[in-house]
């Protein structure tokens, strides 16, 4: 029976959201806003982001004589940027069924693999003036097409749209107002991630993918190595996530969020020699030109998101290099009114030897302590991101989930197209 629940947790999520990719930021040393409209990343690329996307692929559209598909054509009149994110998943959908044979031995039947439409998320951004942009995205749910339910969210606390006014002027803090996701830890937007989940209720994460609230956030980035965000939002969706089934948190009228990040770039080698000496004219003088510096991008930070008796504290660290590798770790802890504490951790690493191929590993541990018991869930994920063409990705994944009473492995493959 416990194996049944483990499989259900893996497979029953119908709709995901665009995955923010912290690896891009850590390997390149660029913040999300370099390529995305939303400073926190995710769906909705700016012009630079679309052009970047257009250069990633085993094949380019031009190579195949399909120049008309070139992503550079996404911009309308230089002011309107449109895009979408579409995902199809091949996975075992459904629940395990357990029956007993004549001898009483339990027989578990695993569902067959099925093709599952996972997400379609269109997005748009309009640059009204040099300093004002409006952006938004919409995520329909399984019942949107069949039953006309406009907002059909799969997870409690999920939001079907994000929309904001964004004020951005060099030298001034960036401000966004509207339906926004405040900056909490490292944005991941992966519905399978445990880092902001709940081991006692794995289909009800604390912060759902595509979580968003009405409110405002400001981001101040005075120098390249330091950034701070502060947000005030109305926690309606947080209330649904924490109190939808039973009252577990006494939330206030508003929720406050803050994140502080240090992003120093470390440089090794390639120093300029200014003193005379004979140690640098050695025998291998002719062997190679002067060494190039090695650059390590780092990101160390913490965030707090709180309302009433609820608080979620997150600490994170990441390092990455120009060679295409990155390692990051995050720990998050939450408390609420009733005895319901979560302590989750994640370590992830990836290596991108060429732009069109990335290998990823992720290990996660989730612990939830309630007044009744302590629940745990561990997860190990190995994945490949294989970009066949610009905006066309195949992502096979193998996922192993362990709880206190079950262990289940599952292979999936995702087709991801975006523009």
């Amino acid at each position: 029976m416990t194996r049944v629940s483990a499989l259900a947790a893996v497979c029953l999520f119908g709709i995901s959201s665009a995955h923010a990719l912290p690896r891009m930021s850590l390997t390149a040393g660029s913040p999300c806003i370099t390529c995305h409209t939303n400073p926190a990343g995710g769906t909705g690329r700016n012009e630079l982001g679309f052009e970047s996307m257009n250069q990633v692929g085993l094949w380019r559209y031009g190579d195949l004589g399909l120049d008309f598909l070139d992503a550079e054509r996404h911009t309308i009149a230089g002011r309107v940027e449109v895009g979408y994110d579409f995902r199809l998943l091949v996975a075992r959908l459904g629940q395990l069924t357990a029956t007993a044979d004549e001898s009483g031995e339990k027989i578990v039947q695993v569902p067959d693999y099925a093709l599952i439409p996972m997400q379609f998320q269109p997005s748009v951004a309009i640059q009204f003036t040099d300093w004002l942009k409006v952006y938004g995205s919409y995520t329909p749910g399984p019942k949107t097409l069949s039953d006309g339910v406009v907002c059909d969210n799969v997870f409690p606390g999920q939001e079907c749209f994000e929309a904001a006014l964004q004020f951005e002027s060099p030298g001034l803090p960036l401000v966004r107002m509207g339906k926004i996701q405040p900056s909490i830890g490292i944005r991941l937007d992966d519905h399978t991630a445990y880092i902001r989940g709940d081991a006692a209720n794995r289909s009800g994460p604390i912060i759902a993918p595509n979580y968003a609230e009405w409110g405002a956030e400001t981001m101040y980035h005075p120098v390249s190595w330091f950034r701070v965000e502060a947000a005030v939002v109305k926690p309606d969706n947080l209330d649904e996530a924490l109190n939808g089934v039973s009252e577990t948190a006494d939330l206030g009228a508003v929720a406050y969020g803050g994140r502080i990040s240090f992003l120093p770039q470390l440089e090794f080698g390639g120093e300029i020699e200014t003193e005379a000496g004979d140690d640098d004219f050695d025998d291998d003088f002719d062997a190679s030109p002067p060494a190039k510096p090695t650059v390590i991008n780092t990101w160390v930070g913490a965030s707090l998101f709180a309302s009433g008796d609820f608080n979620l504290v997150t600490g994170f660290v990441g390092v990455g290099g120009h060679g295409g590798w990155e390692v990051r770790a995050e720990v998050s802890r939450s408390e609420r009114t009733t005895t319901h504490e979560t302590l989750n951790a994640m370590v992830a690493a990836s290596y991108t030897p060429v732009d069109w191929l990335s290998l990823g590993l992720r290990a996660e541990r989730a612990r939830t302590t309630t007044d009744r018991d302590e629940r745990r869930a561990d997860q190990y994920v190995a994945s490949l991101e294989f970009f066949l063409l610009p905006g066309v990705e195949l992502r096979p994944e193998y996922r192993l989930v362990e709880t206190e009473s079950s262990r289940f492995g599952h292979a999936v493959i995702q087709l991801h197209t975006f523009f």
């Binding site: 660029s30 120098v223 190039k292």
Partner: protein
Amino acid sequence: MLLRTLALVFALAPVTALAVPSQVNVAGTMKWVSDAPVEKIIGTADGKGSLTIDFDDLTRISGTLTVAVDTMKSGNGKRDGHLRSAEWLDAAKHPNITFTIKAVKVTQPTTGDAVKMAVLEATGDFTLHGVTKPLTAPVTLKWKGPKVKITTAFNISLDDYAIEGKKGIVGNKVGKQIAVTVRLKGKAN
């Protein structure tokens, strides 16, 4: 006697070679840094050059150093593509960045025994993005026998070289000034 004379000639040959201007082909690395509020980019490129150096009179140094725009790397292949595009350095039209030395001033005379070093001030024509402007840069020259090392560091302004980039990017995500450091080495012929 003849053998002794020949031995002496060969023994002095390298010294003699350095007594007159020597042709030095150098190669190495250019590091460039864009430090803007939103983003700091540390990049590299391959540099090479052909210099004529009179080690007895360093003010007579001449030659040209070249960096191919195509070799510029920022740690992100996608960003490198932007860098080479028409909106930025336009590598198709202007494939090389060059510095042609026109005059050299010695600011710190030659010191050292086995390894000699001098600090110079080189003035010349710096060409980037098809625009040529005069540039003066401090240069450290070190040599041991025929082995030569050259380092220099200077700043360039994107505005001076008509590099505009995308609107709103320069000054925010890309620095208005780019710090350049060059390290080269080679052997006198």
